[in-house]
Structure formats: C-alpha cells, structure tokens
C-alpha cells in the first residue's frame, strides 16, 4: 500500500483536470461530486497507508518512495519522491479527511454560484498542491507545493473577482507570502550549500555532523525558514493578509485559511525539528513570535464584529500557539494542536458559512442574534466548536492546548502567561461570537429574518462529522496515563532526534502528576472564566459591552482598527517601494543619469525644464548614459 | 618594425603634395568668376544651408549607396585578378559565389525600382 502513496496527490489532480478542462457542460452535482470524491479517494488511500504504517515496528515507520528523478545536474539531485512517516501521515490524513468534508459541504454551499466549476477546479488543485507539500521527501518539492498552495489561495481569495476588495485581498496575500518565500528560498539554498542535498533523509541525519550546535549557519537557516513560515502561517509580522483573505468563499476560509494551508509553516518547522533543536536562538525566536502572535491576534479578535474576521484572528492566534509549542520543543504537541485545530476551526468556519447561508450573506454579528431556535443544527455544532477551541473538557482543544501550556510552563513561565492570557481572550471572544450570533435579542432586519432557514443536509452532515471529531478528536492524546497518548507515541520517532539534542546535557526532567492536574484545572478554569465573562456581557447584561467600549474608548479604537497595522505597513513598505521604484524610473533612469551628463549649466535652468527632461527619450541622453558607463568601467579598470 | 611603415609615409606625403598642388595650381592658373551658387559646397544636389528638419530627396543617397556597394565589389575583384592563376579553381568558385550574391542584390534592387530616377 505504501507503494501507492503517489496516488494520494494524483487523485485531486485528476479531479482538477476533469473539472478544469472538460467540466464546462457538466451539471453542478457532477462537478461537485467529482471534486469531493477525488479527495475522498485520496483519503481512502491515505487511510490504507496509515493502517499499514501502524502494523510496522515504530522504528521503521519512515518509508521513502521515489517516483522519478526530477532534476539531476552536477551535485544537485532532486527526485519527485514522497516520504511516508508519522508526521506526513498525520498531515495527509488531516488534509484529505477535512478536505473531503469541506468539498462535500461546498456542493451545498456554492450551489447556484457563478463559476461553480472554477471553484471546484481550484479547490482540487489546492488539495493537490497541499498534498505535494506535506508528502514531499525534499525541500525543493515541498517548495513547489508551497508555491502551489499560495497560488491557489490567491485564486480562491479573489474568487469573487468582480469585487475590488476581493481582488486586492488576493494580491495582498500573494505578495506578503512572497516576502516569506524569499526567506524559505535562501534558507533552502543554504541547506543545499551545507549538505549538498535537499532530501530530508540526506539532510536531517547529517545535521549534527555538518552543523555545529548553536552555530551561525544553523541559526541562519532556521531563522530564514521561519521567515517563510511566518508568511504562510500568518505570524507577526506577516499576518496581515489572513484577515483580508476572508473575502474568499467560506469553505475556502475553512480549508485553506484555517485547516490546512496556513498550518504549512508549522509543519515545515516541525519537519526541520532537528535544525531548530540545534539552534536555541531560533527556538526562542519561534516561541516568542508564536506567543506574541497568540496574544496579539486574540486581542484583535475581541473587537471584531464580522464573524469570519473573529475566526480569522482566532486562527492567527491558534497558529501562534502551535509555533509556541514548536519553540518550546514540544513539536508533537504543536502537530497535535494542528490536527484538533483543523477539526474545530473548519467546523467553526463552516458553521459561520451556514449562518451566512441562512442570513442571506450577512456577516455582521450586530445584525444577528437569537438564531439558536431558527437554525438549531448550526447552533449546536457551533457550540461544539466553541467549547473545543475554548478548551473545555473533554473537547479536542482541551487536550492539545493544555499540553502546549504545560510544556510552555516547563520551558519558561513567561510563555505560559502569554498562552494563558490568550486563552482567556480566546474563550471570551468565541463565546462572545456565539452569544451575539445565536442568543440575546434578535437584531436581524425584517427582510432577512423572513428567509432564515437551516442549511441542507449536504452542508449539515459534514458539520456534524466535524463536530463529532471536535468532541472526540482529543482522546488520541490523553495525558498523564502512560501509553494513553497514542498520538504523541505515534509521532515520537520523528521528533526523537530533536528531543535527544534538546535533552542533551539535561537529564530528562520528571514532572509531577499533581502539577499536570493542577495545570489542567487552571486552564479549564481560565476558559470558564472567559466564558462566564462573555455570558455576563452579552446575555445577562447586554449594555455592559457598550459601556466597556466607552470606558476603554481609545484602546478599543486602537484594537478595533487592528492597531492600524495595515496602514502602517502600507505607509512603511508598500508605498515606499512603489514610490521608490517610481523615483528610480523617473529620477534615476530618466533624471539623474541624464541630469549628471547635462550637469554643467543645468543649475541655471528652471524646474520646468527639468520636468521636460524627465520625458526625454532623446537619443543623445541615452548615448551620454552609455558614455558615462564606459568612463566608469574604464576608470575602475585603470585605477584598480 | 617602423621601417615597414615607411611606404605609408611616402604615400601620405605624395598624396598630400598632389592634393595641395592641384589646389594651388587651380587658384593660380584658373580664371575666377565666383557666383554664390558656385561657392556653395556640393552635397548631393541639395541646399546645404538651412534647417535640417525638412524633407529632401533620397534618390541621391540610394544611388550613392548602390555605387559604393558595387565599387567595393570591384575593389575586391582587383587583387583577386592578380593572384587568380595561383588560386586555381577554388578561387574561381569563391568569386563566382561572391558575384552571384551581389547579383541577387542587384536583381532585387532593380526589380524594386531603386534604379529608376523617378
């Protein structure tokens, strides 16, 4: 079965080709099911491989399958090949499983939309690229998938391209991501220079031999790779694209901007755990950035009224948790949270989509309220999602979040404080969105109220499956009892080398069970605190929120406007780059070179004259520029 | 080394002498009856003084260019004739190819009407 791993990405690609090339005249249902089933087929194959992997001894669960040699040139040997190990297995299962559910949901959600076929073609293409990303056995192929998902994300964010805001958001996402990619690329080059290979199985085992513990090179590599991760996974400072990405259709937000693509950064960092373990500086950076993002994004989540934006900030915040986990060396916990987050965040987004569906596309929570009776299924599953993300026992989020907080405390209590404060806020804003949407007084306008209806089974069934997963998904990783943390044990071989490096010198610290239990109680307590506060503010005492806004006026304005980060970025980077290039074009190319050569005597001429020059196009000026170049070149050669 | 350039120097001197001699002799011997038209420098039959931005007939230039092309052909033929007997058949074929290529050019130019004055 493992031999067939190449089939996993191939199925969605076939789906993409069929829908993309021939789907013009297919009815909606056919297009939708081709899309969903192609991902479903991948899921089945992935499941089969997973079972086979479980049957193997833990130490041998790392199988490389090379399909063909892609680039073979000099020292550079890059195969198209896949690596099946517990880490990629988890990712494959999450991507195909959640992906399949979201595809099915989309058949209902996108019903009647213009460009239905385009949507499914892109969605399949996305899944294909994502699978390439996680299953690749070398950095270059991972990069191919990395770019591919970026492209699909761009296409899907701009799905409603008639809307200027959607088109802009797509472009923003792409450009911000390219900033990150630059780091990834350079990091990859450095890896190649150091190891002479890009294949995981050549690189990671040789890490300790070729790199020095805490050395400059490994720090540089890991930091550069992390720059790539911050772009893709929306961490400080490259997070600004993700909230805007909500311009895309909701299933896209669920699949790409919550469950899968944005977690690619976490996956990549975990994949390189050995490198990170060797670079303490980078580890601290990752943890600090992750923790800071978790807290920072949570504060912004509190003030938003757009239900999808709340979820978007919550995603950024949760991704921050995952990075914090990686940063404190708990890679397995990061991946664990990645998985449970995929369940409950996909669930939350899809339920938000279901609410939108019911509300004729309304997103503003101020215009909702008291929907629990009208769309009970959606309301119920939203409850599941909220409880899970808030970390209430025994929902999935509890186990993974608690684990991260535990390791954070062990590493450095400051991280724990960051995480805990973020957790209160998370709980608060999630319950806030829950109460504002489904309870309290109805603020729905008449027109819309008329049409409120529960979504069709095509949408609710995937919701229920995800709700069930959000409930039980955490039980694969029960702490305290030996052998109950099956998830961690499964992943352990992958992270063993990193762990060995991290624990080198320190003897493995033993943690008392009491401490773990106390921590659990504290974190549940925290969650409940946020819950009760939200309840008091939005149900028991509805005017309290307005008062709070009044009281913290300036702070609220600051947070509500997302700390003006977008504006600051625009002013700092975007505008300055555009202006700079205009400057170069106008003044350097057509101004300075020409001006210098015409230099003498030009001082006396007026500015009007100068402006005329800018448009020259005169051959003599071009010739002067050549002459100047000749003089510089000759001068350099003669004087050297 | 420098000696080998002596003939060049001689040629320069001789040509300078001849050129000067002609000018001097003609100023000394010729009858002079200057008119403005006669005093104008000659340049392809157009008025050389005035703005440069006006239309002028290109016919002279086309003719001039064609003349140069065939002139060069001729210049190439001269040295060839002097060593023709030593180059044998190969030299003959080479020159034939060369002339043929120019011939194609001539046909093209002729057919396009570049040789017509009007």
């Amino acid at each position: 079965m493992i031999e067939l791993v190449w089939l996993i990405p191939v199925f969605p690609f076939i789906g993409f080709l069929i829908n993309g090339l021939f789907g013009r005249n297919f009815p909606e249902k056919v297009i939708g099911w081709i899309g969903a089933l192609s991902v479903g087929a991948s899921f089945v194959v992935a499941l089969g491989i997973f079972l086979e992997l479980l049957g193997m001894p833990a130490a041998q669960r790392s199988v490389q399958k090379i399909v063909f040699t892609w680039i073979l040139s000099g020292d550079l040997n890059v195969p198209i090949g896949f690596l099946v190990d517990p880490l990629s297995m988890v990712m494959l299962l999450v991507v195909t499983g959640v992906g399949c559910l979201i595809h099915i949901y989309s058949i209902g959600y996108m019903h009647g939309e213009l460009g239905f076929r385009r949507f499914f073609a892109y969605l399949n293409l996305f899944v294909f690229n994502m699978l390439i990303l996680v299953a690749a056995n070398n950095f270059l192929l991972m990069f191919v998938g990395w770019e591919g998902v970026g492209l699909c994300s761009y296409l899907l964010i701009g799905y409603y391209y008639e809307k200027q805001s959607a088109a802009d958001a797509g472009k923003k996402a792409f450009v911000v991501n390219r900033v990150g990619d630059f780091g990834f690329l350079i990091g990859m080059f450095l890896i190649f220079v150091t190891f002479g290979s890009l294949n995981y199985l050549d690189v990671f085992p040789a890490a300790q031999e070729k790199l020095t513990q805490g050395g400059l090179m490994v720090t540089l590599i890991t930091l550069l790779l992390f720059v790539g991760a911050t772009g893709k996974s929306a961490q400080i400072p490259l997070y600004t694209w993700l909230p805007d990405a909500m311009e895309g259709p909701t299933p896209v937000s669920a699949l790409i901007h919550a469950a899968t693509m944005v977690t690619a950064g976490v996956y990549m960092v975990s994949r390189c755990s050995v490198f990170y373990a060797m670079a303490p500086v980078s580890m601290t950076t990752v943890a600090v950035i992750g923790g800071a993002t978790a807290l920072f994004a949570a504060t912004m989540g509190i003030t938003q009224f757009d239900i999808k934006r709340v979820l978007a900030y919550s995603t950024i915040s949760q991704l921050g948790y995952m990075f914090m986990a990686c940063g404190v060396g708990a890679f397995a916990s990061g991946i664990f949270h990645l998985m449970t987050h995929a369940f409950f965040k996909a669930l939350l987004f899809l339920s938000a989509g279901s609410v939108m569906h019911a509300m004729s596309g309304e997103l503003d929570m101020r215009k909702m309220g008291a929907l629990s009776k009208k769309i009970p299924i959606t309301c119920t599953v939203y409850w599941f999602g909220t409880l899970a993300i808030a970390g209430i026992v025994p929902f999935a989020g509890f186990f993974s979040k608690d684990e991260i907080l535990f390791f954070a405390l062990v590493r450095n209590p400051a991280f724990w404080v960051l995480g805990a404060v973020a957790a209160v806020m998370t709980s608060f804003y999630m319950f806030r969105s829950l109460y504002m949407t489904f309870y309290g007084e109805s603020r729905v306008d008449h027109e819309t109220a008329h049409h409120v209806h529960e979504s069709p089974p095509l949408m609710t069934v995937p919701l229920m499956v995800l709700a069930a997963l959000s409930l039980v998904g955490g039980f694969v990783g029960v702490p305290i009892f030996e052998g109950w943390h099956r998830f961690g044990d499964f992943l352990a071989p992958v992270f063993a080398p990193a762990k060995a490096i991290l624990e080198h010198g320190h003897h493995a610290e033993h943690h008392s069970v009491t401490m773990e239990v106390v921590l659990m109680a504290v974190s549940v307590g925290i969650a409940v605190l946020g819950w009760l506060f939200a309840r008091w503010m939005y149900v028991t005492n509805p005017s309290a929120s307005d008062k709070a806004v009044e009281k913290f006026g300036s702070v609220h304005t600051l947070v509500y406007n997302k700390y003006w980060m977008d504006e600051i970025y625009d002013a700092l980077f975007v505008n300055s780059i555009v202006n700079f290039s205009k400057l170069l074009w106008k003044y350097f190319d057509e101004g300075i070179i020409d001006a210098i050569v015409n230099g003498v005597g030009s001082v006396t001429r007026g500015i009007g004259e100068l402006l005329r020059w800018l448009q020259t196009g005169l051959v003599k000026d071009y010739a002067y520029s050549i002459l100047l170049g000749v003089l510089v070149v000759i001068g350099y050669l003669v004087l050297k | 080394m420098i000696n080998s350039y002596l003939p060049v120097l001689v040629i320069l001197l001789v040509s300078a002498f001849i050129g000067l001699a002609i000018i001097v002799l003609s100023t000394v011997l010729a009858r002079r009856n200057p008119t403005p038209v006669k005093l104008m420098p000659y340049e392809c039959g157009m008025d050389p003084i005035g703005g440069a931005r006006r239309r002028f007939s290109v016919r002279f230039f086309v003719m001039g260019m064609l003349f140069i092309v065939f002139d060069i052909e001729l210049i190439f033929l001269f040295p060839w004739t002097t060593v023709y007997d030593k180059l044998h058949f190969f030299g003959f074929v080479e020159m034939l190819v060369f002339v043929l290529i120019l011939l194609v050019g001539l046909v093209y130019v002729w057919k396009k009407g570049a040789l017509e004055w009007e």
């Binding site: 296409l155 792409f174 050549i626 | -």
Partner: protein, 481 residues
C-alpha cells in the same frame, strides 16, 4: 602558391543554409505576385529545419576551422540550436503581421534569416573580429527590421534610435578590440588567452577589455547601457521584440561568455566586480521600473532587462556551473518570452492597437486557453515552479551561492519577488477584471497557434523534466574550460 587555409564549409553549414534560404526568399518574393509572405514563411521554416539538421554534427565536434577563426564545438551547437528555435518561432508568430496593411513584407524573413546567420557567426567565433562581423550582420538586419512597419511612426523612431546607439556601442566595442590588438598583437581568443595568462597585462589591455565589455553589455541591455531597450522594444513589431529579447540576447551572451571565459579568465579578478555591479543594477532597476509601466511591451522590455541581470549572475558565479546555468536559463527564457510576445502580438490585433496592460482585462472570459498560456508564460518569467523559469533561476542562484556570492543572490531573489507584482498584475487583469468595451475578436492563425503550442510545451516540459536539459547545458559549456 598562396596557402589556402583549411576550409570547413560543413562546420558553418547551418549559417550557410540560412543565408541561402534568405537569398531564395528574396528572389521568390520578387516574382510571386500573391501570397509572397506565406511562401516566404514556408521557405524560411524549411531553411531553419535544414539548418537544424546541419547543426547536429557540431555537438560531437571540438575543433577550430578557417585558420582558427571559427569554433566548432558543443557550445556553438547549443547556441545555434537556440537561435534556430527562436528564429523558427518568430517566423511563425510574425506571419499575420506582414499582411496586415495589404503589404507583402516578405523582406522581413530575409532579414530575420540573415540576422540569425550573423548570430551564428557570433556564437561560433574564435576571434574578436568574427564576433564583430557577426554582431554587425545581426545588428544591421535588426535595425531595418525594427523599422519595417510602414505605417508606424513609433517603429521608425525606434529603428533610428537603435541604429544610432547601436553604431555608438559598436564603435566602443571596436575601439576596445583595437586596444586589445595593440596589447596582445592578435584578436584570436587563444592568443588573447595566452597574453592574459602571461600576467603582464598593460593598462591599454584593461581599457580594451572594459570597452569590449561595454559593447556586449549594450547588446544584452544591462544597466546603465539599457536605455534604448524600452523605446526600441515598444516601437518594434511584437514578434520581433520577442526575437530581439531572446535571440539577439542569447547570441550576445554567448559571445560575451565565450570571450570572457575563454580568453580573459586570468583577468577575472578585474572584470568580475564590474559584472557583479552591472548585474545588481540591472536586476534592481529593471524590476522596479517594470512595476510602473502601463504598456505591456514596455513592461516586458524592462522585464527583459531584469532577466539580463539574472543571467549576469551566472557570469559572476563562474566555474562551469554558472555559464551552464545561463545556457539552461536562456533556453527556458527563449520559449517563455517568445510565447509571451506571441500572445502580445495576438492580443495587440491590427496595428498593435491593444498593447496596454488594461487591454488584457477579461481575456480569461473570452479566450480562456490564451489567458492560461499567457499566465504560464508569466509564471515562468516570475520563476514560479513547475515552469522552466523556476529551474533556470534556481540553477543560476545555486551556482552563485556555491561560488560565495550570497549578496548577489539575495538581491536576485528579492527583486524576483518584486517582479511577481507586475507579472501578476497582468494575470489579475485577465482573470479578475472585465473590459470596459467589448474588444474585437482575436484572429488566430494556425502558425500562431503552432508557435504558442510549441512555446507552452517547451516551458512546461523543460520545467518539469529539466534533467536532460541541465545536463546538455553542462555539456555544452565544457569546451570553454
């Protein structure tokens, strides 16, 4: 008996075939009343194919001919092939252009074939004078071609500008060559190499080297010798612009690399920093200036300047990997840019009325396949996998990293990230905007479709399976070292 140097007509057969085809087209055009362009195109393509066949034996050769004036080796073979590919594709994309105004501009093909023959001499030269003769043959033909559109003033202006500046740069080049001759006593590459290796290099030789460098930098459009490029590329007919940006550039780079690596390698310390600087300036300025363009031909002109910058990185990287990367890059770039300019020619419609980026709005709706093809070409230009452009950038960058030029690569990667912005602007216009007025129907010709198809397959095929081509490139630069 006058010694006749060894004559190896077989070695320069590809160029001879092209010349012959040019002459045949010239005569045929005169005597055919209707459809001269179509006939000319067919003959030209036949000429290109025969030349390609005649080119194959060169791959296995490694010798000189004509008293050491001409190199017959794998390097020549590679570039001859590249020139033939670009000439062939250009013929295919140009056909419609020449019949637009009811004129039968079959001369276009004649000049194209002569220019290609000139390029072949340039890439195979083993002597600076042969480089110069090839350069001039090529340049004169291109000057005329740029101004060939009878009804376009822009085209005339571009031709004149190019002629003047080209003559200027040729003069600089020739002056440099003369100074080199004065120092080394010969212009043959082996003799020059001997001179430079001997170590006693005079100032005059350095000045000569610098001027030759500038001559090449002008032809490849490196900053600050690039200023003609936007004007000329904008004015010339779009397919020809494509040809200039790949064929001429490839030939110039071929000679550039050959001259500097084969004969001036010992003086590398002296020229490498200049090229480093040129590369950096070219990448930065080309990319940033491209961002603010509204005319797609101007945008692609600045983009081609930027690509010259990436190629120069390969020269800086040196060893064998750098030039090998350049060869692959040029191959990838040939398919990509000819494809892109083919689309520009097609979308430009009659008289190139639609060459603004805004004219691409909604192309995906009206011509989905054309929009897809253009997107792929643009992706390749931006260097996004799995296109050939990505592999090209990757090999050049990794060669430079290996040689220790990390900062240059940082500039390269950063600027190519910036380039995504302007390439994607076009993609976005095609897919996400609607045109204000309904544009006229596009007129596809079979030749154009064939050319776009070949370019598209080329971009994707050598992008997905680059191994063989990378090896070919590596093999082809062997004779230089």
């Amino acid at each position: 008996m006058i010694p006749i140097p060894e004559v190896n007509l077989g070695g320069i057969l590809p160029a001879l075939v092209l010349c012959l085809a040019g002459l045949v087209v010239m005569m045929l055009g005169l005597f055919i009343r209707r459809g001269a362009v179509a006939t000319a195109a067919v003959v030209s393509i036949a000429g290109v194919l025969i030349a390609a066949a005649a080119n194959t034996p060169l791959r296995m050769m490694d010798k000189q001919a004509f008293a050491g004036l001409i190199n017959l080796d794998a390097y020549t073979w590679f570039f001859n092939l590249l020139i033939l590919i670009s000439a062939g594709l250009t013929v295919l994309t140009s056909v419609r252009y020449l019949t637009d105004d009811g004129l039968d501009m079959y001369e276009y093909f004649v000049l194209l074939l002569f220019a290609s023959a000139g390029m072949m001499f340039m890439v195979s030269a083993n002597h600076l004078l042969i480089v110069f003769v090839g350069l001039e043959t090529l340049s004169i033909a291109i000057y005329v071609l740029v101004g060939i559109l009878p009804s376009s003033k822009k085209s005339k202006e571009a031709a004149l500008k190019y002629l003047l500046l080209g003559a200027f740069s040729s003069a600089v080049f020739l002056y440099g060559a003369a100074l080199l001759y004065g120092s080394a006593g010969s212009l043959g590459f082996p003799e020059l190499a001997k001179y430079f290796k001997a170590g006693q290099i005079s100032r005059m030789a350095y000045v000569g080297m610098g001027m030759v460098l500038v001559g090449f930098a002008f032809k490849v459009a490196a900053v600050p010798f690039h200023m003609w490029t936007p004007d000329v590329y904008e004015g010339a007919p779009a397919p020809l612009t494509g040809f200039m940006s790949v064929g001429v550039k490839a030939a110039a780079f071929a000679a550039f690399v050959r001259v500097f690596f084969q004969s001036m390698l010992p003086a590398q310390m002296n020229w490498i920093e200049i090229i480093w600087l040129l590369a950096a300036l070219t990448m930065v300025l080309g990319n940033l200036a491209a961002i603010v363009q509204d005319n797609i031909k101007r945008m692609l002109a600045y983009s081609s300047i930027a690509h010259a910058g990436y190629l120069l990185i390969g020269m800086v990287a040196g060893k064998e990997a750098g030039p090998a990367g350049m060869l692959y890059y040029l191959l990838a770039y040939t398919f990509t840019n000819l494809g892109a300019f083919g689309v520009v020619a097609l979308v430009g419609r009659k008289g190139e009325a639609n060459v603004m980026i805004d004219d691409y709005r909604g192309l995906a709706k009206t011509n989905p396949f054309l929009a897809l093809a253009m997107s792929i070409f643009l992706f390749s230009l931006a260097g996004i996998p799995p296109t050939a452009g990505f592999v090209g950038k990757f090999t050049i960058f990794s060669a430079a990293i290996n040689a220790g030029y990390i900062w240059l690569v940082v500039i390269g990667v950063l600027t190519s990230a910036a380039s995504v912005f302007y390439y994607f602007r076009v993609v976005m216009k095609m897919y996400m905007e609607v045109p204000e007025t309904q544009p006229a129907e596009l007129q596809f010709s079979p030749a154009m479709l064939l050319a776009l198809g070949i370019a598209l397959v080329g971009v994707l095929y050598i992008g997905v399976f680059p191994t063989n081509y990378l090896n070919l490139a590596a093999l082809s630069v062997k004779p230089l070292f």
